[in-house]
């Protein structure tokens, strides 16, 4: 078990470093084609939306689980509409989730 853990840690360190280096190495210092630039401009929206959704609903073993997190994220939305600071948004989400879990 112990060896498996260390092989995983080492292997993941290597693949992560390579994956993070490949874009800057191949495309570095050159201007991207304007078409590719438009794609890149939209990439944060796509990635962040996917991260928000998967981290809100994913349960154990890849099941979609609707629980108190959804209430917390609703609180985050309200805080964002009220133009709250990011820290306030995160706190509102965590506190709401905790309260709904405690009550429910």
């Amino acid at each position: 078990m112990s060896a498996t853990v260390w092989i995983t840690v080492g292997g993941l360190a290597v693949t992560t470093a390579l994956i993070k280096a490949v874009g800057p190495l191949i495309f570095g210092g050159r201007e991207l084609h304007p078409v590719l630039q438009r794609v890149i401009l939209l990439l944060p929206a796509a990635l962040l939306a996917a991260l928000v959704v998967t981290e809100t609903v994913s349960g154990h073993a890849r099941t979609v689980t609707i629980d108190a997190r959804v209430a917390g994220m609703a609180a985050a939305c309200i805080a964002l509409i009220a133009r709250a600071q990011l820290l306030v948004v995160v706190l509102a989400a965590a506190i709401t989730t905790a309260v709904v879990r405690a009550v429910g």
Partner: protein, 185 residues
């Protein structure tokens, strides 16, 4: 697993979702042969750093080794915050934002190892919504870019649909493909 492995992992991997994914696979496959599956699961989640790296590439003025090193500063939050309206990236801001997060991430892991024994269920404190709420806060300013609202909507929808589909990381990669709508026009 001892207390040291998660800390070393945070020091040398420094990619949160990939670390969780790899550990989740290890927890299921405690028997031999689990290492490769765990590395693949973590790496798939990290594949999003390839387009993120291409995105910052034109903003890097360094030589090869320097560029590869700057690539290591890629973290979701830093990257999103460093993106500018014109599609270029403030790479020094990216470096600074990551340098602040790195000790926090490693320090948090160090605290978390004994903390896990004290706090039986961290989810009771709502800690599991910290990251999605934070990412939601980063998403809002991105929606001002032309076409971004539709991309976020479609990306979120496909991520939801694909959440039950293996392998881990597929929903994120599939959602990022919606950025390809930028090819039109």
């Amino acid at each position: 697993m001892g207390p040291i492995a998660p800390i070393v992992m945070s020091v040398i991997v420094f990619a949160g979702s990939a670390q969780f994914a790899a550990l989740a696979v290890l927890a299921v496959l405690a028997a031999g042969g689990g290492a490769l599956a765990a590395i693949i699961a973590g790496s798939l989640l990290n594949l999003r750093f390839v387009p993120m790296g291409i995105a910052i590439a034109p903003s890097l003025v360094h030589r090869h080794v320097g560029r590869a090193a700057r690539g290591q500063t890629l973290v979701d939050a830093s990257w999103a915050l460093a993106s500018r309206e014109d599609g270029r990236f403030d790479v020094d801001f990216l470096l600074g934002a990551t340098l602040i997060q790195y000790p926090a991430w490693v320090g948090g892991t160090v605290l978390g190892v004994p903390g896990g024994a004290i706090i039986k269920d961290p989810n009771a404190l709502g800690l599991d919504v910290v990251f999605p709420a934070f990412f939601l806060g980063l998403l809002v300013p991105e929606l001002r870019k032309p076409g971004a609202k539709l991309v976020a909507l479609l990306g979120g929808a496909v991520a939801l649909l694909l959440t039950p589909v293996p392998p881990a990381g597929l929903p994120i990669i599939a959602a990022s493909l919606y950025a390809l709508t930028g090819l039109r026009r």
